[in-house]
């Protein structure tokens, strides 16, 4: 069903993907016919989410509906959603669990799991979630099952899928087809930036939010250049000629072509998102889960394309937010039921339809809704992920490496040679992972 690409994770072609989806859907339909187990006593779960249940946005409403679906089928289990900002969720969970006051369940950003496992705040799920699942059910996940397995234990489940590197552009100001190469993009954007008097391409190098605004496009650019983020032996895979290319590209965009402003060192993902929503830049690279937010401001004027690379589009950088049970959890059975419900095809379909989040399950994609114009953005992402996948598992201390790479890029902006800055990253990384 899957085949290995050199230096990459499992490859999924479209046919395999859709076949798996159909098989998974059938299995899950059969499985859902059995009644769910109920708990004997009334229990309460505390769920930390980056989405505020009182907020009026689509993503919060969708999560509320997913939780409601669970509580309707399990009235004996109350769920209290406590919002925590996504930028500090990882740290807060670890601190909470270590202090003995952590949540039962938490939903975290894709890079956070290795550190949750390393810090001992995540609880193993082998005996809690999906105990009786068939292999077909396990194969129903879009992202590799092993991505969240450590020492043989499933430590989390993907709450959604994410395409980290979508190229966004303002349609009314960027006419024509988006080039797939860096050179083509630069030539294409230069006259448009001059014409509209705004940056042609915007990104952010801030270390805030674990520097995801930067690394979400940098990592697939490494792959496209023939470099790696981290090698199988745990060393940095970008301290070479190929790894230097993405940095040279962004430096040229700032210093030579003047398509990107030189104040990007301070910009965060939220700054870039706001700038795009306010039409302050012609293009950027952002993640699939915030397309709906931008579209609410830009409507059809938001265009999506594949991330340009050195010789063609970069591979899709597919990841996902995950949901885990913490070691503070005293109601493991209820927590297991909750996680199963949140990642169930029904919940995932709700999230896709209401929040336009990519589902974590293949079988959901077989729903007719995905053929409607409403699902066009999701279909774009699914096609990109299916055609040029490059799944990989984040290493431990990845947040450190991400913020360290952003600092290196900031140093390059102020004149530090690329090689020297990357050598410092490699030294710090070796020191960090070896204690």
């Amino acid at each position: 069903m899957t085949k290995k690409m050199k230096g990459q994770g499992p490859h999924l072609d479209r046919r395999t993907f859709l076949g798996g989806a159909a098989l998974g859907l059938g299995t899950l339909a059969a499985a859902s016919a059995f009644p769910r187990p109920a708990l004997a006593k009334k229990v309460k779960l505390v769920y930390w989410s980056p989405l505020d249940p009182k907020s009026n946005n689509a993503r919060s409403k969708a999560e509320g509906a997913m939780v409601e679906l669970f509580t309707k089928s399990h009235p004996e289990i109350a769920v209290e959603i406590q919002p925590v900002p996504w930028q500090v969720m990882g740290q807060q969970v670890i601190q909470g669990v270590m202090a003995g006051s952590g949540p039962d369940i938490a939903q975290l950003s894709t890079t956070n799991l290795p550190d949750q496992v390393g810090a001992g705040s995540a609880a193993p799920l082998n005996d809690v979630v999906g105990k009786n699942w068939s292999q077909a059910e396990k194969d129903d996940f879009i992202l590799p099952w092993d991505n969240t397995v450590y020492d043989g234990q499933k430590m989390a489940y993907y709450w959604n899928s994410l395409l980290n590197n979508e190229f966004w552009y303002i349609r009314s100001e960027v006419d024509g087809e988006i080039p797939t190469t860096w050179d083509g993009l630069q030539s294409f954007l230069t006259p448009l930036a001059k014409k509209h008097g705004k940056p042609g391409f915007l990104t952010g190098l801030s270390q805030q939010g674990n520097a995801i605004e930067f690394t979400d496009w940098l990592i697939p650019a490494f792959w496209a250049c023939g470099a790696e983020y981290v090698t199988e032996t745990g060393e940095v895979g970008f301290l070479n000629e190929n790894g230097m290319k993405p940095f040279q590209w962004i430096l040229d965009m700032v210093k030579v072509h003047k398509l990107t402003p030189d104040n990007i060192s301070a910009l965060t993902r939220d700054n870039v998102l706001d700038a795009m929503k306010g039409r302050k830049a012609l293009s950027t690279i952002l993640t699939s889960n915030i397309v709906a937010s931008a579209r609410s401001a830009l409507g059809d004027d938001l265009g999506l394309a594949r991330q340009p690379g050195p010789n063609g589009a970069c591979p899709a950088f597919a990841a996902g937010k995950f949901i885990m049970m913490t070691k503070s959890c005293h109601e493991q059975e209820a927590a297991g039921l909750f996680i199963e419900s949140m990642i169930s095809p029904q919940s995932q379909l709700i999230n896709a339809q209401m929040a336009k989040e990519l589902p974590s399950r293949k079988s959901v994609v077989a729903d007719p809704w995905f053929k409607t114009p409403e699902a066009a953005d999701l279909k774009f992402a699914m096609d990109y992920m299916a055609e040029t996948p490059h799944f990989f598992k984040f290493p431990k201390r990845t947040d450190f490496l991400q913020t360290r790479l952003a600092l290196a890029a900031q140093q390059m902006m102020t004149g530090t040679p690329i090689k020297e800055a990357l050598e410092r990253v490699a030294t710090d990384w070796d020191q960090a992972r070896n204690g």
């Binding site: 670890i94 601190q95 270590m98 390393g118 700038a275 947040d399 020191q431």
Partner: protein, 292 residues
């Protein structure tokens, strides 16, 4: 028996407070030193590693934190205290609506650090900030202070001073008000100018209070995390990566508790030196000296 009880009773009465102080103050400090001298892996404390955790504080990146902290603390101290003295003198003068003015200048004190940071970040936003808009409309230039090293530090200092000067102002105003008016009257009879009144009466009389304010502000600035975390996240290029932020980030982003504890020890020692100055200069000499 009664004598023993009466002698022991003060100590017995102090015991609950002593236990609490030990638990919430002394134990964490001792533990901080313990961790600082040990290897760590996430939350696991490993073997004794002498001062290895301190070495990283004295590399190029660490030194930038020392420099950034020094610039931030000194600039904030000077500006906050100067502004507080200036406003205290102004508010001490017989102005119309003086009560209202005193209330208005105190408003920043009511604003939390998080809100202060977000407020200034929004004000200075390169795309949507009002200052950027004004700069673009009036002078046709882009204004992005948070995007360069000098601008980021300057912005952070301004935000910090804006938030903290009311505290200094309250104390300075109280000190000025406690100076007997006869001294000013006598000086005027002798032909002193306003500047001479300030130079030879106000400043010496309120000088002790200014020193207290300076030391208290320095304590606070040394341990400030919220404003740099939200406004600049330590950037660009570690120009605003204060020691306090390093303590936090090493612990809760990088999970290097040994390094974090080492940085915490350094911040603690710097504050301890200040505290000793404070105690020696004001507390030991007795309450009379502290009153102004």
């Amino acid at each position: 028996m009664n004598t023993i009880v009466s002698r022991a009773s003060p100590y017995l009465l102090l015991t609950p407070a002593a236990v609490i102080i030990f638990a919430i103050t002394l134990y964490p400090i001792v533990n901080l030193f313990w961790i600082a001298f040990h290897a760590t892996n996430y939350f696991q404390i490993g073997s004794f590693n002498a001062g290895a955790n301190f070495f990283s504080l004295f590399n190029a990146s660490g030194m930038r934190s020392f420099v950034a902290t020094a610039i931030f603390v000194i600039a904030s101290d000077v500006l906050a205290l100067s502004l507080a003295i200036f406003l205290a003198l102004l508010l001490e003068a017989p102005l119309r609506n003086r009560g209202l003015l005193r209330t208005v200048v105190m408003v920043p004190w009511l604003v939390s650090q998080v809100v202060t940071a977000l407020l200034w970040q929004a004000m200075l936003d390169a795309n949507f900030g009002p200052l950027a808009h004004l700069a673009q409309v009036m002078f046709g230039v882009s204004f992005a202070p948070l995007g360069n090293e000098f601008g980021a530090m300057a912005s952070m200092v301004i935000a910090n001073v804006w938030r903290s000067y009311p505290f200094a102002l309250v104390l300075m105003l109280a000190a000025l008000q406690s100076i007997p008016s006869e001294m000013y009257e006598a000086a005027r009879i002798d032909g002193a100018t306003r500047w001479q009144e300030f130079r030879y009466i106000s400043l010496p009389m309120a000088g002790q209070t200014a020193m207290v304010v300076l030391i208290l502000l320095t304590f606070e600035y040394f341990t400030l995390v919220t404003i740099p975390f939200i406004m600049t996240s330590g950037g660009p290029n570690e120009a605003t990566y204060l020691l306090s932020l390093r303590v936090w980030r090493e612990a809760f982003t990088n999970y290097h508790f040994g390094y974090s504890a080492a940085a915490g020890v350094v911040v603690f020692c710097l504050n301890l030196v200040l505290a000793l100055v404070y105690i020696r200069k004001f507390a030991v000499k007795g309450g009379a000296d502290v009153q102004r």
